[in-house]
């Protein structure tokens, strides 16, 4: 038998087509299932029906409006979590005393699903953006604190000796040592949490608000428009894909990739 040997790392010219092939296979399977399952198009719409109705939703601006509403909530909640969670993680990573005080609290709160907070969130923040933003904040805040703390903990202790040797001030230790040292891990954590918060926003919107992709799905279900439900799902998937792509670009920045840098 002859096995073709290809140089490691040499990409086949058509590699970038592979993801599209995957999507195409999915569409095909979906279409076949929809045609031969015996369910009516109201219950299990095929790709063509869904595509046509997506055209409708795009034409009247509904889809864009709901997507923007969801993205707005994710952005605000996520930035809040980043702005509070990362500094807190750094502080906990550096101050061992504070950690033994606060860490058990975090580990206690972390496994509680953000969705369990929905009743309280609605009671405290009413209807509208604030409860949804609060839930997104919760979903990203704890993972970010924990990953940042672990990242700070993992910094090679030699570097702290070097810093002391070069008379670093407390501020310099943070800005010139800790932050650059943890950026690669933090970028990975951001990539994970942005996906979590995107998961949570849809769930939150099914309860507390009158806009967003979650609301679109719930509303379409009430109207028995499964094609619209699927349009909402597709939009969620596409935005998730884009968010992940953007976060990956963050990982390619020079500050985040020093760990991979060799010759």
């Amino acid at each position: 038998m002859i096995t073709k040997v290809r140089k490691i790392g040499a990409k086949k010219p058509h590699t970038h087509l592979m993801p599209f092939l995957g999507f195409f296979a999915l569409l095909l399977a979906w279409d076949v299932l929809a045609r031969f399952s015996g369910w009516s198009r109201e219950v299990f719409p095929g790709p063509v029906v869904v595509l046509v109705s997506m055209g409708e939703l795009l034409a009247d601006g509904t889809l864009v409006r709901h997507t923007v509403a969801s993205l707005f909530r994710v952005t605000v909640g996520f930035y809040l979590a980043v702005g509070l969670g990362i500094p807190m993680g750094i502080a906990l990573g550096m101050m061992k005393n504070a950690r033994s005080l606060i860490n058990p609290l975090i580990q206690f709160l972390r496994p509680i699903s953000p969705l369990a907070w929905i009743p309280l969130a609605m009671l405290w923040f009413g209807i509208g953006d604030p409860p949804a933003i609060f839930l997104i904040f919760l979903s990203s805040f704890f993972p970010l604190v924990v990953s940042t703390t672990i990242a700070v903990d993992g910094v090679n202790p030699t570097y702290f000796h070097v810093a002391a040797n070069f008379n670093f001030s407390r501020t310099e230790i943070i800005t010139r040592l800790v932050i650059p040292a943890i950026i690669p891990e933090v970028v990975t954590a951001l990539r994970m949490t942005v996906t979590i918060s995107w998961l949570v926003v849809v769930a939150a919107e099914m309860i507390a608000v009158q806009s967003g992709l979650g609301f679109l799905i719930l509303d379409s279900r009430n109207a028995l428009r499964m094609d619209y439900v699927m349009d909402g799902m597709i939009a969620i998937g596409l935005v998730g894909l884009t968010l992940d792509y953007l976060m990956r670009q963050l990982g390619a920045l020079e500050a985040a990739s020093w760990r991979k840098m060799t010759h």
């Binding site: 030699t158 570097y159 000796h161 070097v162 002391a164 040797n165 070069f166 008379n167 010139r176 040592l177 650059p180 040292a181 950026i183 500050a255 020093w258 760990r259 840098m261 060799t262 010759h263």
Partner: protein
Amino acid sequence: MGRINIEKLNKSYANRRRDPRRDDDPLLRQGDRVNVLFDIDLNILDGEMVCFLGPSGCGKSTLLRIIAGFEPPSDGRVQINEKPVKGPSADHIFVFQHSGLFPWMTVAENVGLGLRHLENRQERHEQVSEYIEMVELDGFEHHYPRQLSGGMQRRAELARALAVNPDIMIMDEPFSGLDFLTHMKMREEVVNMHAFIQKTILLVTHNIDDALIMGDRIVILGHSPTRVIMDRTLDFPRPRDFEKSSELSLLRSELFLMMGVNYAV
């Protein structure tokens, strides 16, 4: 000035072994503590290059870390220029066994760490380039440490230490992990650098030849608890060669014997 006085220095750690070793050497174990260093007395002169030799695990590194201020002594005192060591400082720079270069900074940024106090950017830039040239790394200023070979990393670290203009440089096995030729070249560079800048250099090594070629003085530490078992000033002219100097060759055999090797080849 880099004068070091060490008096009655002791270092012991809490014994974390559940089942303590069965040797009842009273010096080694006092209650629940393990002695690492025992009554070390040393006077190191300004500008001296002192090589510390000893079996591995004998506490050479601990001694240097105490001098550098990373660890406090359990008893006794360490003074640098008549002032007790209170902690790490830019006056006595430690060059680490494994790279202590910040991997997220380029060579130039790493070397610049010791020159942060210079307000004038131009002046700082010039000094950074000067030290980088001194270790022959020009052209690699904007490389990250991981893009350099092991030998180049050591040289970059040397440049970073020199840039601070410290009174004392402390090197913990600076040549370990280098290939033979790089080792020889680095050794030569450190000797030349010492001749040029005349700083006090403390150097821990396993390598008897390194100590003989480089040292103004050799201090041999014995095994646990560590005591000074030999302290000898070498006033052989440089460059040194075992084959040409029979006296040096004799001393080499003596050292090998002391360290437990019967036939030095």
